[in-house]
Symmetry: C2
Subunit: 249 residues, 2 copies
DNA sequence: TCACCGCATAAGTCATACTTTTCTTGATTT
DNA sequence: AAATCAAGAAAAGTATGACTTATGCGGTGA
C-alpha cells in the first residue's frame, strides 16, 4: 500500500497511466506555450529519455495531442506544434489546459461572450420543445437558488444547475457541448470578480423569470431574459477588465 | 508511379498512413453506430487481425478516438464505445463522420440553430471591434455576392466567404471554431433545399445590410440583421422537415 | 448467503528491429 | 555558375514479441 503511494508520488501521477500523464503534461506545455511553432518540439527519442518511458507510450501520447489539433507529425521533419487556430478549443482537455494557463479576465470575457451566444438561444429552444422532466429540472434548480438564499443550499451550485438544465433542455446536441464551458465560467467568475452577483435575492428572481418564460413556452421572452441575465455578468467583466463600455446587443 | 497507385488502391487508403486510415474507418463506424455501447467493440487483437495491422498502429488509432471522446479503454474490460453525449461533436473529424452518417434535415436544423446562436453575436462583436482588414474582408465578400449575381463569381463561395469573414472578425477564439460548421451547413443546405436562397438579388442586398451595420459599428443592427438572415434559412428547413412553425426569437 | 482468493483476460508498458518518407548534401551535368 | 539528380541520413511509421498491471469472474470456504 505504502509502496503504491510512493510509486505514484515518484511518477508525479494522479492515478493516471503513463500515457495519459505524458499527454497531459505535454498538452499543458503546448497550451502554455512552453513549446511553440518556432521553438520546435522534442523528437520522440528525446521525449522517451525525458520521461523515462518507452517509445510506444510517448507515441500514443503524441497521437492523442494530434487528435486534438495541437500537434502534427511528419516523417523526417519531426513533430511540430500547430498554430492556435487549429486547436480544438472546445475539447474538454484543451479547455482545461487553457484555463490552467491563464485565467485572465480576457479569457473569461471570451467565455462569457460564448455563453451570450449559446444560452439565450438555448433558452428559446427550451421554451419551444423542452420535455416534462427537462422543465422540472429547470424549476428545481430555481427552487435551489431560493433555498440557497436562505442558506439551505449552495448558491453557486444551484446557479450552475440552472444553466446546465436550460442548455440540456435545448435538445440540440451541439449546444450541449457547452455545459462544461458554462460551468467553468461560473466557477471562475466568482473567483475573479469578488462580487458574486449570484447570491442576491434579485438574481434569483431574475433567474425565475427566465424559467417561467421557458415553462410557459414563451421563447422570445426566455431568450431575451436570459440574454439580460448573462449581459449583467458580461458588463461586470468588461468593467473589471478595463474595456470600453458599449451598448448591449 | 503505377505501383504506388496500386498500393494505394490495395490498402483502400487515400494517401493516408495506416494509423490514420484505421482511425478514420473506426471513427466512422462508431459514429454510424456500427458499434455501440451495447454491441461492444472489438478487442485490440481482433482489430489487428481485421486490418492486418500491428498492435502499435491499432492502439494508436484507438488512442486518437479516445482523445475525441468516442472510446474508453480499460484493462481487462476491453474497449467500449462512449455514449454520444461525451463525443467531441465540434471536433472536425467527428463532425465529418457525423455528416457522412446522415445528412438529414434534422441534423441541418441542429447546425442552423447553432449558427443562429453564434453568428448574430459574432456580427455584433465584429461591429464593435473588427480590424481594418477584417472589415475589408467582409466588404469584399459582399462585392463577390453582387458579382456572382451577374454570373461573374460563384454565389455559394461568396456566401461562405461572407459568413467566414464575419465570424473571423468577432475576434473570439471560440467562435472561430464554428467557421467549419457554418461552411458545411451552407454547402449542404443548397443540396437539400433545392431552392437556394443565396443567389437572388434580394439576398445579396440583405447581406449587404448586415455588412453595412458592421462597418458602421452598429452592433445591435448587425446582430439582429444577421439573425433575420439565418432565420430565413432556418424557416425553410423547418418547413422542409415538417416541423411546426413557431415565432422567431 | 456472503466474503474472500486466485485465475484468466485484455489493455498497458517496454525493447528492438526494420520500413518509409523526406530533407540535405554533394557530385554531375549543362 | 546554375540546375539537376542521386546517395545518404534522420525522424516518424510499422511490426513483433515479451512482460506487467488492473480487474471481472468463478470457485472456495466461513
Amino acid at each position: 500500500m505504502e509502496q503504491l503511494e510512493r510509486e505514484r508520488a515518484a511518477s508525479g501521477g494522479d492515478g493516471l497511466n503513463v500515457t495519459r500523464r505524458i499527454a497531459n503534461d505535454l498538452g499543458r506545455a503546448i497550451v502554455t506555450q512552453r513549446f511553440t511553432a518556432d521553438t520546435g518540439f522534442p523528437f520522440e527519442s528525446q521525449l522517451c529519455e525525458q520521461y523515462g518511458a518507452s517509445r510506444s507510450v510517448v507515441r500514443e501520447a503524441v497521437k492523442m495531442l494530434t487528435a486534438k489539433g495541437l500537434l502534427r507529425a511528419r516523417q523526417r521533419a519531426g513533430t511540430v506544434v500547430q498554430p492556435e487556430g487549429s486547436w480544438n478549443l472546445l475539447d474538454p482537455d484543451v479547455l482545461r489546459w487553457l484555463m490552467e494557463r491563464d485565467f485572465s479576465i480576457d479569457l473569461l470575457i471570451d467565455f462569457t461572450e460564448m455563453r451570450m451566444a449559446i444560452e439565450p438561444r438555448a433558452a428559446g429552444l427550451a421554451a419551444n420543445g423542452a420535455s416534462g422532466p427537462q422543465r422540472a429540472a429547470i424549476v428545481k434548480a430555481i427552487d435551489r437558488m431560493f433555498a440557497a438564499e436562505q442558506g439551505e443550499d449552495d448558491p453557486l451550485e444551484a446557479d450552475i444547475a440552472f444553466h446546465r438544465a436550460v442548455i440540456e433542455a435545448s435538445n440540440n446536441r451541439f449546444m450541449r457541448q457547452f455545459t462544461d464551458l458554462s460551468e467553468a465560467t461560473l466557477r471562475f467568475s466568482i473567483r475573479r470578480t469578488n462580487a458574486y452577483a449570484g447570491v442576491s435575492r434579485a438574481s434569483a428572481i431574475d433567474h425565475r423569470r427566465v424559467a417561467n418564460a421557458i415553462v410557459e413556452g414563451n421563447a422570445r421572452g426566455a431568450s431575451s431574459l436570459m440574454r439580460e441575465l448573462i449581459d449583467g455578468a458580461l458588463r461586470l467583466l468588461l468593467e473589471a477588465g478595463g474595456h470600453p463600455a458599449h451598448d448591449s446587443f
